[in-house]
């Protein structure tokens, strides 16, 4: 009984530590996920030695392939690794709280200033920059992904369906569904081939 209470308290303490450290990281990291990762490496691999670099790399690989926001996924994996379920939740809340506070304030100002003559002029210029920013992200993703003929076919089919009015969510879910079927079929064929080979050997 007593032991359990001690365990709970230390879990809570770890949770608070994780919350505070990630809150700090969340406050000062501009430029999204990758900048945050660099900070995590400094803080937890170099300074506190809580995980090894390889473990962090593994978490990044998994966090990237799970739906949602990459950095919050990685935060959850990391927080759980260090402090269990409470640790995971505290870490995710720590990394998101600064963004929530800052954006709430910015939104307030946005509403009172967006109709000002000079702000409108600046925003018109900024919107023209948003297109190359998104375009550049698409290009980088393309360089990473478009390496096989199949990737081009999927891209073409998805864009055609998009133009025909199919919603984005349906497109993503369909692609994931086809992938699951493809994976299952591929495994089945491999298994069948293995049993045939085994049978011949017998």
């Amino acid at each position: 009984m007593k032991k359990e209470r001690v365990k709970k308290e230390s879990a809570l303490r770890t949770g608070i530590m994780l919350f505070l450290v990630f809150f700090k990281i969340g406050c000062f990291t501009f430029g999204g996920g990758w900048a945050i990762l660099a900070q995590m490496e400094q803080e937890f691999v170099d300074k506190r030695s809580l995980i090894t670099k390889e473990e962090l790399v593994e978490m990044v690989a998994v966090g990237k392939s799970v739906p949602g926001i990459m950095i919050t996924n990685i935060s959850m994996l990391f927080g759980y690794h260090v402090g269990g379920v409470i640790g995971g939740i505290c870490t995710v809340l720590g990394i998101t709280c600064p963004a929530i506070i800052i954006l709430s304030i910015v939104t307030m100002f946005y509403n009172s200033f967006k109709n000002n003559y000079w702000v409108m002029a600046a925003l018109t210029g900024i919107r023209a920059a948003v297109i190359p920013i998104i375009g550049s992200a698409a290009l980088s993703l393309g360089q990473e992904v478009l390496r096989t003929r199949m990737a081009f076919v999927i891209l073409g089919a998805a864009f055609a369906l998009y133009l025909l009015g199919v919603s984005n969510i349906v497109l993503v879910l369909t692609a994931a569904g086809i992938a699951l079927v493809y994976h299952a079929a591929g495994k089945r064929i491999k298994d069948d081939a293995e049993t045939i080979i085994k049978g011949e050997n017998n």
Binding site: I102, G125, I126, P132
Partner: protein
Amino acid sequence: MIYLQLFFSFMKIGFTSFGGMSMVPLILEEMQSHGWMTARDLANLVAIAEMTPGPLGVNCATFTGTQTAGTLGGLVAVLGVLTPAFTLTLVIAIFFEKFKDSAVMRTVMKFVKPVCIAMLLGVLVTLGKDTYFSDGGLLIFSILISAVMMVLLRKYKWSVPKVIGLSALMGILFYGVLPLAQTIH
């Protein structure tokens, strides 16, 4: 019930997006289908989210939720977009060793990533219409700004906040100072 709608909208966005900018097309679609936000607001939001610290998805959820239903709306939207982390990722964290080299997820990513590119192209078409055509006229200065920023981003590897800063200055010059100067003449 606006809060529930916000929560479920952002939960949907969370579960169907895979990292960074690929969230933007999904957000635009949800916002337009509910009439919560215009393409113009979304473009402004992307710029704001890129200039403030924190992950893009959380920034977008806070902005949209707060715009639509105040501070509580912002919190609810963030909780929605975090649902994958609190559910799916938590389960994966518990079974991390088994999931580490999952071939299934690799195959899923192989199919979903090209779709993300298609969605980004789609959102570029939508935003392009709003950014370059206004009241039936073509905004030549906006095209000029886009071209300059593309070169700065790709060729000279400028950081995004720097690009946004310069484009704001160019916007003030072309759409603020220039029209005033013309009326004075």
